[in-house]
């Protein structure tokens, strides 16, 4: 097991290298001189040259990449071109909001998606099942920005129950924090609810067809107990894995949802940095998001391997 863990961790290194190289090359493809973008068109050539020197933009590209990676290894993500704020600090400010949104959506999705999936499996090929399956299809298809718009239209504009945008930290006002988080969490969670429903349904249906379930039924156990205790115990493992593997999709959803509800998270950080062409922020924030997703995927695999005694490495 230990060698497997080490091997999997080592496997991450080339992936992260490719990711960082791809990001770096991509963001240096930018047409034009970044110093013009930062200083505006009125700046003199001398001012621009000084700025390029300050930011290390006068170095050859490979040198800039090596410097960036060397900084990363030391935990230094560079500094914003516009505010000169360290990128690491900007990310540290925003990450908690994104994590809070992500965790809330995951919880919501699990609490709704798994029971709905159980219901669909127990009533397979009946009306409840087609309703759940249909809803799952709709949730998988609806773009997050559209769902967010509809939710705002209904709950903020028409019913006036919840705020349309804004944010307060949980530490300042827990109840207010929750009010600001409900609509974004429902939006981000929508896809995961659907995935949880479908996976629970499929996985439980497969388990219910197994011999040991028939044995339990023949033994006269209550149907409820068979489904919830005997079958679900085995059906849940793939569900957990599939939900955990959604973390990448979750980050995509978070980026756009944060922008709509103006939550000060990683998504707004990235989108605003793109608009202001603040490349060190885009580079650093995207890299952190990717590393986070890779870490969760790795952890999921390891936990799965650890939980399931049939898997040996």
């Amino acid at each position: 097991m230990l060698t497997y863990v080490i091997r999997r961790c080592l496997h991450l290194i080339p992936v992260l290298l490719v990711v960082s190289l791809a990001l770096f090359v991509l963001l240096r493809l930018l047409p034009g001189d970044p110093s013009t973008a930062i200083l505006g068109p009125e700046a003199t050539e001398a001012q621009r040259a000084t700025l390029r020197g300050d930011l290390g933009l006068d170095q050859p590209l490979w040198q800039q990449y090596v410097d960036w990676i060397a900084g990363l290894v030391r935990g230094d993500l560079g500094q914003s071109w516009l505010t000169r704020e360290p990128v690491g600090a900007a990310i540290a400010d925003r990450l908690p909001v994104t994590v809070e949104l992500g965790v809330t959506s995951l919880l919501l999705a699990t609490v709704i998606g798994i029971p709905a999936g159980i219901l669909a499996a127990v009533r397979a090929r009946r009306r409840t099942d087609s309703a759940v399956t249909g809803i799952a299809m709709l949730l998988l298809s609806v773009p997050h920005f559209y769902l967010a718009t509809l939710l705002v239209l209904l709950f903020a504009v028409t019913l006036r129950w919840l705020p349309a945008s804004g944010f307060v930290a949980f530490t300042e006002d827990p109840a207010g924090n929750l009010r600001f988080l409900i609509l974004p969490a429902v939006t981000v969670g929508s896809t995961i609810v659907a995935v949880a429903m479908r996976q629970t349904r499929a996985s439980l249906l497969a388990t219910l067809g197994e011999d040991y379930i028939r044995t339990a039924e023949a033994g006269g156990l209550a149907r409820r107990r068979i489904v919830l205790v005997h079958a679900m115990r085995n059906a849940l493992a793939p569900v957990t894995t599939v939900i955990a593997l959604q973390v990448g999709a979750l980050m995509s959803a978070t980026v756009i949802t944060e922008t709509i509800f103006t939550l000060p998270g990683m998504g707004t950080l990235i989108v605003n940095a793109i608009f202001s062409r603040d490349m060190p922020i885009v580079q650093g924030a995207v890299l952190v998001v990717v590393a986070f997703v890779l870490a969760v995927n790795l952890l999921t695999d390891l936990i799965y391997a650890w939980l399931d005694p049939r898997i040996t490495y």
């Binding site: 930018l30 773009p143 990235i270 990717v290």
Partner: protein
Amino acid sequence: MTLDLTPAETPVPAAAGTPGRPVLRALLRDRRALFSGLVLVATIVVAAVSPLLHAAATAVAPDRRLRGPGADHLLGTDELGRDVLARMVQGAWVTVQTAAVAVGLALVIGTLIGLLAGYAGGWADSLLMRVIDGLLAFPLLVLALAVVAALGPGLRNALIAIAVIVTPRIARVVRGEVLSLRTREWVAAARIVGVPRRTILLRHLLPHLAGSLLVFTALQASTAIMAEAALSFLGLGVQPPQPSWGAMVSAGTEHLDTTWALSVFPGLAILLVIVAFNLLADALRDALDAHRPQLRATA
């Protein structure tokens, strides 16, 4: 069975060409497939006639701005008094381009990369797969954003960004299929009798993975349309005044309290097309599963 194999008679099992008809028949009986076919054909037709409504979509009229749905303007007017329905018709063109150009490009490049990686094996495969793993590690929209950040906003760059996010997904699926197919005896037989590698890849292997590739491409088309709409919603895709459904939803959010139709109808169009592609993929998968070509392959 005789083993007198000349290249021309290599027993390549009947592949995609043969099951086409029963699969098509099964699709015609499937309500999901009919629904999605209807939606997709309608979208293409609407996109094709969109130039006819160009004048209505661009006519600015401050005196009739922000009207709700009514007799004059079926779906109302926007903040500049332009007809929402006419603008939606224009927007269909963007969606069709996304599905055709961006996904088409990704399909061609991704399939080639997947075929090469899967068949060549060795260091070429390892190298290509590391790059693909790296690209797949990005959350989809985050990668699209990074590409648009590099190239700048606009429809062409958004389409490139979408091709970049879809290509590695297709390459990965094709490679997986090729890995499992290339160990088959008929591939070995073809190789032994000296069929050129390109012929094996394109004429023998490709038809066999056409089915699953078709299903996967339909799913990717829905992803691509969602990504284009999201980029346009964020203001990084199609630029005003050219209309796109995503940008229309975004513009409408400013007027949700007065003219909800501005956001709701364009969004509904996006949802409909995405559902259509997803249902099409489901129906196709079921139809192909029921008519596996491999069954008759060994005959």
